[in-house]
């Protein structure tokens, strides 16, 4: 066993992704930044994913393969987090792939600014078309101050909309994650939002890199977001957990407006993209319980940054 700790721990939950796994792993193995520990958590795959992982591990001793019974990506990331020894943490998904300089550039920035985490841009890759969607996502430029590093208080946007609530376009300082006891929710979908937004509100130093460094695969087969019918309530559990965390940090007085606006935004997105009959089930829950619990009920129209979303809300409750 090696005694020296690696600089970056890359954590990848793997579940039945044999089709894209090699492209993902190759893009990590070929990173220009070499001082890595690549922790692959096989989440009870039933295809050949584990064999592929073992094959890579036999050729590259930076790999660590952990097997667990299927428990979802959130649990797999927590497993990886617990065994990580690196100074920095990168949480990647097994169907995405990355620019070879991603970790080098993110590492350079986080060290230079002494940041708690650094965010970079990404785009989307459509497998069927074998092409990238031109829209860049990740960082909303008008929300970001022209100086770095900064905290959420410097964001000129709903703070929960300045970055996207996923973990793979960010590099985290491990001591920061440990100090604030950040963890992933162990649920089927929306399991990284709590982690990402908890980090956002407790971080004193955030940096960004305005460069596309990661490629997210869209419309991948077996992609969880396509089968959200089974986990239609997860987004709500994530929002409630975030609300609890904001309250526990003593910041709800300050962040209530941004939270409620984001809660409505995220709820409407989930609602619009859900198919019947689950959609009606969700509608009933929202009307009778969830809009109340999220603090949305009773807020006047001018409380909402986006009046279109407010009117969508009115349509549901009327």
């Amino acid at each position: 066993m090696e005694t020296k700790n690696h600089e970056i721990s890359v954590i990848i939950p793997v579940y039945n992704s044999e089709k894209y796994l090699r492209q993902c792993l190759d893009s990590i193995v070929n990173q220009t930044f070499k001082d890595l520990e690549i922790i692959c958590v096989n989440d009870g795959s039933t295809d050949s994913s584990l064999q592929i992982l073992q094959e890579y591990a036999s050729k590259d001793d930076r790999f660590v393969v952990i097997n667990q019974e299927n428990g979802g990506a959130g649990k797999a990331r927590n497993t990886g987090l617990q065994s990580a020894t690196g100074k920095y943490l990168s949480f990647l998904d097994s169907d995405d792939f990355f620019e070879p300089t991603m970790l080098q550039k993110a590492h350079e920035k986080i060290e230079k600014d002494n940041s708690d985490f650094v965010v970079y841009n990404s785009d989307q890759y459509v497998t069927e078309k074998n092409d990238y969607v031109s829209a860049v996502c990740g960082i909303r430029p008008t929300a970001i101050p022209p100086y770095m590093p900064f905290s959420y208080r410097r964001l000129t946007e709903n703070i929960f909309k300045a970055f996207v609530g996923w973990a793979w376009d960010k590099l985290y300082r491990k001591s920061f994650v440990d100090e604030h006891k950040l963890y992933f929710q162990e649920q089927r979908t929306s399991n990284d939002m709590l982690f990402v937004f908890s980090a956002l509100i407790v971080a004193k130093r955030i940096s960004v890199i305005y460069e596309v460094l990661a490629h997210q695969r869209r419309d991948a087969e077996g992609s969880l977001s396509k089968t959200r019918e089974k986990s239609w309530f997860c987004f709500y559990d994530a929002l409630i957990a975030l609300k609890d965390r904001i309250e526990k940090e003593g910041l709800y007085w300050e962040l209530e407006k941004d939270f409620i606006n984001y809660a409505l935004h995220f709820t409407m997105w989930n609602y619009e993209t859900l198919a019947e009959p689950t959609k009606s089930k969700l509608k009933e829950k929202l009307r009778t319980e969830w809009f109340d619990n999220l603090g949305i009920t009773g807020k006047p129209e001018d409380y909402f940054y986006n009046s279109f979303e407010y009117h969508e809300y009115l349509d549901i409750v009327k």
Binding site: R153, T156, E254, K257
Partner: protein
């Protein structure tokens, strides 16, 4: 224990230092401690301080590598032992009755802080042109004890830290210090805000004692690293105010008022190459302050109110509209009197209503 510790943060000021030190050494109040903090000067400043220290045992010399104004001041605050604390900048000087007078007022009224009017002065062919600068332009708050922690309007007072004295017990109770950012980066803003949000017994007096040198007008900012030093200081102030929701609630409108003044002041001295980015940020910050309910237009003067409304509405298009678009340049040709008349016609009534 001495009555006042006078802090003098020193960085490359050999030209003015003797005049400053003489005015402090010759104070009519003798029970003082004079703390000179040399912040890594590369001229003869340190020699001058040492020379004075040899002659006067009340002078304490602290010296170290350059660490910026805030760090130097904090070293002075840490070292101070007297009942009160005063600050004199090494290119300014003070009249010989400043510290005895302020000490008497502070003692008599048991004050956390007392501040006085001051002069600004220019030297023209060897003669000094002095102008009195009032702390309170309305002239209504002088010579009475007030509670700044519950008087947010006191943030309207001219912002400086060096025209007053502060009770050291008060400074230590709230651990009031400066932001330790590099160089001179407006660190007096943070100190000023802390003394006003925490102070409970304060007075301003309408006698000027302190002479502020303005020979070196604010020169343009050409260095990119300096463009946002004011923003960073005001960020620090916000983080302090938000430690306590009640304090933020009480001071938020005046915080944004102060920030507006500071940003305008900063914007005007920036090199043109930085102005657009700075103004975009300026507009976006105020747009979101309004959305979050942190702005009160009523605390602004009507002319500023109009500017601010436009900045918020146009946001990142404001700079373009004012500097690059042709139609705006044509508008600029309209004489001011006609513009004022049109403004009154368009806005006058609305502002009248808002005020009531």
């Amino acid at each position: 224990m001495q009555k006042i510790s006078i802090l003098i943060p020193i960085y490359n000021v050999e030209q003015y230092l003797r005049e400053c030190l003489d005015s402090v050494v010759n104070q009519k109040l003798k029970e003082i401690e004079i703390i000179c903090i040399n912040d890594g000067s590369t001229d003869s400043s340190l020699d001058i301080i040492k020379e004075y220290a040899e002659r006067d045992s009340r002078i304490v010399v602290i010296t170290g590598p350059n660490g910026g104004y805030g760090k130097a001041m904090n070293k002075g605050l840490d070292a101070a032992t007297s009942e009160y604390i005063g600050i004199v900048e090494p290119d300014d000087y003070v009249s010989d009755n400043m510290f005895p007078d302020l000490y008497d007022i502070a003692k008599k009224n048991d004050l956390d802080l007392v501040k006085a009017d001051f002069y600004k002065f220019k030297t023209n062919n060897g003669t000094k042109e002095k102008t009195v600068m009032p702390l309170d332009k309305t002239g209504t708050h002088y010579n009475v004890v007030f509670d700044p922690s519950h008087t947010p309007e006191a943030v309207y007072f001219t912002l400086n830290t060096w025209t007053g004295i502060y009770k050291r017990d008060f400074i230590e109770k709230y651990h009031i210090r400066h932001n330790e950012t590099p160089g001179a980066s407006f660190q007096d803003n943070g100190f000023f805000f802390q003394t006003f949000i925490y102070g409970q017994r304060a007075m301003i007096v309408d006698t000027p004692y302190y002479l502020k040198r303005i020979d070196n007008p604010n020169s343009s900012v050409y260095n990119r690293d300096k463009v946002y030093t004011m923003s960073i200081e005001m960020d620090w102030v916000m983080d302090i105010l938000k430690r306590d929701p009640e304090i933020w609630e009480r001071f938020k409108y005046m915080y944004w008022w102060r920030k507006f003044q500071n940003y305008m002041f900063r914007y005007n001295v920036l090199d043109k190459s930085f102005k657009q980015e700075f103004m975009n940020r300026f507009c976006m910050e105020f747009k979101w302050a309004k959305l979050r309910g942190e702005l009160d237009f009523n605390v602004f003067e009507p002319s500023q109110r109009a500017t601010l409304e436009e900045m918020i509405t146009l946001a990142d298009k404001y700079y373009f509209r004012h500097n690059l678009s042709v139609s705006w340049k044509i508008k600029k040709l309209i004489p001011k009197t006609i513009k004022d008349f049109l403004k009154k016609l368009l806005w006058g009534k609305e502002y009248g209503n808002k005020k009531s």
